[in-house]
């Protein structure tokens, strides 16, 4: 039975409400007013919400089926690259070399024609589709092989880390055709709207908030369904599910692919708001940071992932400008403190009573992870 409850509607409503308030705060009051929200704050929030989409995707696999992916930012970065390729093609003749077809870095490398895998990326719809399909396909192939071979636990975490590291090295190479270590940048506009314009930036924040809200509702539908209960069963007693006739690998594969697609959407929304995508987005540290967001917010709750991503990134923004040398210590300390004192994350602090939540991660498990 599907109940549309407060816990289902409140988080997306809150996300959308905050985004709308920020946009109104930018548009309505005059620039001199103390209530005016500067445009950089709008884009910064958009970036946080894109990260929150990644955190949500990670929580779906880690919190509900126990796959601790240490390479999830790879799916996010692939979504970013797909959208970045579109934004590169949109530059057209406005590039430094004025080449209508070839992005600047290709002209610089003396390439004369567009590689085949750049075809179609001049269409916004195609690029958007690829931002979903490419991460999804990679997850399908990777997950099929890993889950069929019953790779799990630490070993699975290590190979997800290897996956993102391999992509990092590959994207660094100039002859891959993705701009090498500089990545893709100098974007001008998206679907005809100039990226520097306040209205476009406001629109992108609203789009990101909407995507996050929809992704949350989708993830919530999945975890509340019978499939969601089977995921928890697989997480806590995989062999039991097998002897009951379930094939845990197909359940894991389903969620892993869904999660990669959601992460890809986050990446596609991230790139126009930060204006650059380069191989460092594949660095293993990014994926580990995403794990910390989820752990801090509360694993296996979906809401916690969103809260964790936003709060930790707020902290990061503050620390990296105020005390730049201190940030990594703060992040490490945060992770240790959460593990020791809040093994179930921040959201558990606000829970009225410890309901026998479907999603409940046993405290010992959260600690061990």
């Amino acid at each position: 039975m599907m109940r549309v409850s407060f816990a289902t509607l409140a988080p997306p409503a809150l996300v959308l409400g905050c985004a709308v308030l920020l946009v109104l705060g930018n548009v309505v009051p005059a620039a001199s007013s103390p209530f005016h929200v500067p445009i950089f704050a709008v884009s910064l929030t958009g970036k946080y919400l894109a990260y929150a989409i990644l955190a949500l995707a990670l929580d779906l696999v880690w919190g509900y089926v126990g796959i601790l992916s240490l390479g999830h930012a790879a799916f996010f970065a692939l979504g970013s690259y797909a959208m970045g390729m579109y934004l590169m093609r949109e530059i057209g003749r406005r590039g430094v070399y004025g080449n209508a077809t070839l992005p600047d870095f290709m002209v610089f490398l003396n390439w004369t024609k567009l590689p085949w895998y750049w075809y179609g990326f001049d269409h916004f719809a195609f690029a958007t589709l690829m931002a979903l399909v490419v991460p999804g396909l990679l997850a399908l192939v990777f997950g099929f092989l890993a889950f069929r071979s019953r790779v799990s636990g630490v070993y699975l975490s290590i190979i997800t880390q290897a996956l993102t590291f391999a992509l990092l090295l590959a994207f660094f190479r100039n002859n891959m055709g993705f701009g090498g270590n500089n990545g893709l940048t100098d974007f001008k506009d998206i679907a005809g709207f100039p990226l520097q314009a306040d209205s476009t930036r406001n629109g992108l924040l609203l789009a990101t908030a909407l995507a996050l809200a929809l992704a949350f509702l989708l993830a919530r539908f999945v975890v509340l369904s019978r499939l969601g209960k089977i995921l928890i069963a697989v997480r806590d007693a995989e062999s039991r599910t097998r002897f009951l006739g379930y094939r845990p690998e197909s359940y894991k594969l389903f969620v892993f692919v869904l999660s990669a697609v959601i992460a890809g959407i986050g990446g596609a929304l991230y790139v126009p708001q930060v204006g650059i995508i380069n191989p460092s987005e594949f660095s293993p540290a990014n994926s580990i940071e995403a794990v910390i967001w989820v752990a801090v917010g509360g694993r296996g709750t979906l809401t916690g992932a969103i809260i964790g991503a936003v709060l930790v990134n707020l902290g990061k923004t503050y620390f990296t400008s105020a005390l730049p040398d201190f940030w990594l210590y703060a992040l490490g300390g945060l992770f240790i403190l959460t593990t020791l004192f809040l093994p179930r994350g921040l959201v558990r602090l606000f829970e009225a009573k410890p309901v026998a939540a479907l999603s409940e991660v046993p405290a010992t498990k959260a600690r061990a992870a």
């Binding site: 369904s225 019978r226 089977i230 069963a233 009951l244 006739g245 379930y246 094939r247």
Partner: protein, 249 residues
């Protein structure tokens, strides 16, 4: 290949080695349809390995495991064997602890096991009725809304037996069902298994001799991976070899 005519389970010359250790050594065993069999033996006799081989967790080095007339289980994996109608209870009670008692049984009910189906599945009236029946059989009606993890040890054992029944298997493999149970719970479990045996074949692995006596069925004694003796509990407990390796100690 075919089994002994009329057998539900037929193990023929099954051997399994782990790193040179022979866990099963040319083990043969025939179970008639509707039979309940108790399997006893000292630690390391191969009882759990035998269960692993029947349910597809371990592949034997040699020998055949025939279910019903002609299904060779050694070629199948765990979900496929479960789907054929073989249910297994683990030694340590294994239920889905964060889920409710009712949900544990619901997930175990026979039916479509595909993720696509599970995503949109809603509990049907027939399913609800079947879960109610099972709750009644395993004496957990009042506990249906509790978290499975909050049940007592004995209740978890019963819930797991209920989950086995929910699968509607023809053959149940039950590993040490009364380990850690009180005397009252042990007696209740013996009654429950005899009830189940009215419609299903059962193999029970157990250490508790009083419990085996209460079941009052044919007993197979395993020792070092093969059958040492077979017969009624009185017959095997008077067998001097059995006394030497197991009962006498």
């Amino acid at each position: 290949m075919s089994g002994v005519s009329g057998s539900i389970l037929y193990l023929d010359g099954v051997s399994v080695s782990f790193d040179g250790f022979r866990a099963l050594n040319n083990l043969s065993l025939v179970l008639a349809p509707g039979e309940m069999r108790a399997v006893i033996g000292p630690n390391g006799a191969g009882k759990t390995t035998m269960m692993d081989v029947i349910t597809g967790k371990t592949r034997p080095d040699s020998g055949a495991v025939i279910f019903r007339t002609d299904t060779d289980l050694t070629r199948l994996d765990e979900p496929a064997i479960a789907a054929l109608g073989i249910g297994r209870k683990f030694q340590k009670p294994t239920v889905f602890e964060p889920l409710g008692v009712h949900e544990n049984l619901l997930l175990a009910l026979a039916g479509n096991r595909a993720p696509r189906h599970a995503l949109f599945a809603r509990e049907s009236a027939a399913e609800r009725m079947r879960v109610e029946e099972l709750l009644d059989i395993i004496r957990l009606v009042e506990h249906r809304h509790r978290r499975a993890g909050d049940l007592s040890h004995g209740q978890k054992q019963w819930l797991e037996i209920g989950m086995l029944l929910a699968q509607e298997p023809d053959l149940l493999l039950v590993d040490e069902p009364v380990a850690g149970m009180t005397d009252a719970e042990t007696a209740e479990t013996a009654r429950l298994l005899r009830d189940i045996n009215r419609s299903k074949s059962v193999v029970v692995v157990e250490h508790d001799m009083d419990f085996v006596r209460a079941l009052d069925v044919k007993v197979t004694v395993l020792h070092e991976g093969s059958v040492l003796a077979e017969g009624s509990i009185d017959h095997v407990s008077n067998d001097p070899r059995v006394v030497e390796v197991y009962l006498g100690r």
